[in-house]
């Protein structure tokens, strides 16, 4: 059984497992958009079709999926203050059970909403103003300019530093690298990630990479990599827009009817 050829059919991706990994490494697919549980389920299903347990395949799969999971976890929960690793096994089981319960209830609630929507499909009501209604005067209560100042100051306020004190490993702050890469891009049109972080520890390199993801998320730079393990080149983004992948939903909005 070739783990890398495992065919996947996920929300965000369709194709073999090794293409998924390549896309994630090339940053063309966000790890946080990948449903790792569905990958595992697919693998286990394929595994179950075999008569004998394929230990090699299991080992390879575990390594690959663990890497994917770690990438995703770091991106999703950079500020998670309850680290499972920090809890004793009993507490960890409790925490895991709590999260599973939360997840399950949410699924149940979503199912209830789905059924409700189906039942309410034959309720039609007017969206928007009545045809011959008096036109509402758009009157806005007078405002004080100080509210604008307060709003902007709040946007300029430093977000609270996430405490990492409980973690055994000390991570340098991501912001340190964010600022450093920003400064680099002001001076140079392009730089090579490996060259910049070459002399650093593995932990520092990992944090530097997170900073890169952060900057890319904000639409500040582009990341190019010709092939897996080829040098990662960084350049400023032409248009500072965060590309939002569209959901495959039919669009309607409050103004449609």
């Amino acid at each position: 059984m070739h783990v890398r050829e495992l065919e996947l059919d996920l929300d965000a991706f369709e194709g073999p497992f090794d293409l998924l990994l390549t896309l994630v490494l090339r940053e063309e697919l966000e790890p946080r958009d990948v449903d790792v549980a569905a990958v595992v389920v697919t693998f286990v299903e394929r595994l179950a079709e075999r008569e004998r347990l394929d230990l090699d395949a299991c080992g390879e799969f575990l390594v690959l999926v663990a890497a994917l999971l770690e990438l995703k976890a770091r991106e999703l929960f950079p500020d998670e203050d309850v680290e499972l690793g920090d809890l004793d096994p009993e507490e960890a089981a409790e925490e895991l059970a709590r999260r599973l319960e939360e997840f399950r209830r949410m699924k149940e609630a979503a199912r209830w909403l789905t059924e409700r929507l189906e039942q309410e499909r034959d309720r039609f009501f007017r969206l928007g103003p009545a045809p011959l209604a008096p036109r509402a005067e758009p009157r806005i209560a007078p405002q004080r300019p100080e509210t604008l100042v307060a709003a902007l100051r709040a946007l300029a306020a430093e977000p609270p530093q996430v405490s990492l004190g409980h973690m055994a490993l000390r991570f340098p702050p991501v912001t340190q690298f964010v600022e450093r890469f920003r400064a680099l891009l002001r001076r140079r049109r392009r730089f090579d990630f490996d060259q910049e972080v070459g002399g650093l520890s593995r932990i520092e390199q990992a944090v530097a990479f997170l900073a890169l993801l952060e900057l890319r998320k904000g639409g500040e730079l582009r990341i190019d990599q010709a092939a897996p393990f080829a040098p990662i080149r960084i350049e400023p983004a032409a248009e500072g827009v965060r590309a939002r992948d569209e959901e495959g939903e039919d669009s309607w909005n409050a103004r449609s009817a």
Binding site: E101, A109, E120, G128, D250, W252
Partner: protein, 198 residues
């Protein structure tokens, strides 16, 4: 309040009902009894009585117009019997359904109350950005301030309640009645752990 001064003229309930019909037919949002009392210059109790009259008149099977209590107020809608004719002329509020991701996100926001995208991502296990943006665009979810960390909070809108036919968010079934409890899950986990060779 100056309103109470007007209460001297106790015109018959029928007159008040007529005023409410007029308000309801021009309103673009469900109206609360208080809003209608304010506009009609009458008191909320009498408005409730008049609404009772109208509810009987505008009811399924008797009229093409139905008066319903929804999204924290009262509103006219088409009778369910006329859904087929309506569908030929008007777009359904949710034409071809919402994706599973959108419904799960709506469930989290509706039950958790104002919550941030990281909150949603934590529960769903996948990033929520594009799903939330889609729900905002559809008017089912709206921004509701920021939390202490500066992340934007989201809440469901009155349109959400209208589309799902909810009198208010408290009309959602209690979460305790849905799914397993922590104890059930822990028992299951322990059973699995016990089977594993040490």
């Amino acid at each position: 309040m100056e309103r109470t001064l007007r209460l001297i003229s106790t015109h018959p309930l029928d007159d008040l009902a007529r005023t409410l019909e007029a308000l309801l037919v021009v309103a673009s949002q469900p109206l609360s009894a208080e809003e209608m009392a304010d506009a009609a210059g009458d008191d909320a109790e009498r408005v409730e009585d008049a609404l009772g009259l109208l509810e009987e008149r505008y009811t399924e099977g008797r009229s093409g117009i139905v008066l319903e209590q929804v999204a924290g107020g009262w509103a006219f809608r088409a009778s369910r019997e006329e859904a087929e004719a309506c569908a030929r002329l008007f777009e359904r509020p949710v034409e071809r359904g919402l994706s599973g991701a959108a419904l799960e996100t709506l469930a989290v926001v509706a039950y958790l109350g104002p919550c941030t995208r990281p909150d949603i991502a934590r529960i769903r296990g996948v990033a929520a950005d594009s799903v939330v943006a889609g729900l905002v665009e559809r008017g089912l979810v709206a921004e509701s301030g920021r939390d202490e960390g500066g992340a934007v909070r989201y809440r469901t809108t009155p349109l959400f309640e209208r589309v799902f036919g909810l009198e208010s968010l408290s009309a959602l079934p209690r979460l305790d009645d849905l799914g397993e409890t922590t104890d059930d899950i822990r028992d299951r986990l322990e059973a699995i752990a016990a089977r594993r060779p040490a």
